[in-house]
């Protein structure tokens, strides 16, 4: 169930090519949101419908039985980047944000409930090598299979490039740096 990191590298390399879908195959509904050099800030708002046939259902581990949507985040060449993810939607939805944790060989919950709702919010801090990219693929799932038919949206905010690691580490935060990975205030 782990998303292949090598696939992400391929995606990044081919991001300027319209052949992405043909080459990689259309899988689950997902969004590629990289931080290319010379750009910073901004946000995107993605509507997600878990009833869509291209939204996959976890088959094992923490995601077993739950619909989930993959977000590919990336940054390159020493450009450290803080991202903020926020889910929200009609009342009755319940989401959870996960990141794969190799130490448990499964997805680990990063955030369950935020902002006084059953929806979720988390920060992702990526510190890439000086010459190359680093990728993090948070997963947004239904809280349980009972929410596999929900519709909601995901807001993905690329924070200003001046945002420091300390400023990014607020609430539930996942860090991926040259020193390794860390879950902070995971719930």
């Amino acid at each position: 169930m782990k998303i292949s990191t090598s696939n992400r590298v391929v995606v990044a390399a081919l991001c300027a090519s319209a052949s992405f879908v043909t080459a990689a195959g259309l899988k689950a509904d997902s969004l590629y949101f990289p931080n290319q050099p010379n750009n910073e800030g901004d946000n995107t708002l993605e509507d997600i419908d878990f009833t869509s046939s291209i939204i996959q259902t976890g088959s094992s581990g923490a995601l077993a039985g739950k619909k989930y949507w993959v977000l590919d985040l990336a940054t390159y060449n020493g450009n450290k980047q803080c991202f903020t993810l926020v889910t929200n939607g009609p009342a009755g939805g319940d989401s959870r944000i996960w990141v794969y944790d190799s130490t448990i060989n499964d997805y680990r919950s990063l955030n369950d409930d935020a902002n006084g709702t059953w929806y979720s919010q988390a920060n992702i801090w990526i510190d890439p090598p000086s010459n190359g990219g680093r990728y993090v693929s948070p997963v947004i799932s239904a809280y349980s299979a009972a929410y596999n038919g929900m519709q909601f949206f995901v807001q993905i905010i690329k924070r200003n490039s001046a945002t420091t690691e300390a400023a990014c580490t607020s609430g539930s935060t996942y860090k991926s740096t040259g020193s390794g990975t860390a879950f902070v205030n995971a719930t």
């Binding site: 259309l26 969004l31 750009n39 800030g41 995107t44 708002l45 939607g89 519709q151 807001q155």
Partner: protein, 178 residues
């Protein structure tokens, strides 16, 4: 197909606020905004077979449609590039309001076009590009939508090749639309 421009302005202002959601849900769509500091590439997979993806009206009647809302603000002119692609079995068309922007400028029967937005100082400039099935025969296609911001391009560089639409302070012009 309804579009609430004011809502998106609110989204930009309340970027971290959770209150935007309850009013926001409609069909499957991507919101791609050029804030003072910008985004790069958004790649989204779309499945027209999803029930929440609506059918169009007017020239897209009977066809599945998916809206892409583009905007820029704070006096920042911006060039966007849009392309659909897939496994070769799909056929898309890009529309702006009731006019076709592009049919087959992308790979095979897929579509590609550019958008040039120029806001008035202190305001947003919005444009919604509708990605539609070419005909109802393609209402179940799965495809990828690639949206990228092209930083640093002038108007002439942005619209100098292929189909494009310009929205300059509320005035819309099509270039090489097909």
């Amino acid at each position: 197909m309804s579009r609430n421009i004011k809502l998106y302005a609110s989204v930009s202002v309340l970027v971290a606020a959770s209150a935007i959601a309850s009013a926001a849900w409609s069909s499957d769509k991507t919101y791609f905004v050029n804030q003072p500091q910008g985004i790069d590439v958004s790649l989204r997979n779309v499945d027209f077979a999803t029930a929440s993806v609506p059918l169009g009206s007017g020239p897209t009647a009977g066809r599945k449609v998916w809206d892409l809302d583009l905007s820029t603000n704070n006096g920042t002119s911006q060039c966007f590039e849009i392309a659909t692609s897939g496994d070769g079995t799909g056929d898309t068309r890009l529309w702006v309001a009731d006019q076709s922007l592009d049919d087959d400028s992308g790979d095979g029967l897929y579509s590609s076009a550019r958008v040039w937005l120029v806001p008035t100082p202190g305001n947003y400039e919005y444009l919604t590009v509708t990605v539609a099935a070419y005909s109802s025969a393609y209402n179940s296609i799965k495809f990828s939508l690639d949206i990228r911001k092209r930083p640093g391009l002038t108007e002439a560089q942005c619209v100098g090749q292929g189909p494009a639409v310009k929205s300059i302070q509320g005035t819309r012009t099509f270039v090489n639309a097909n």
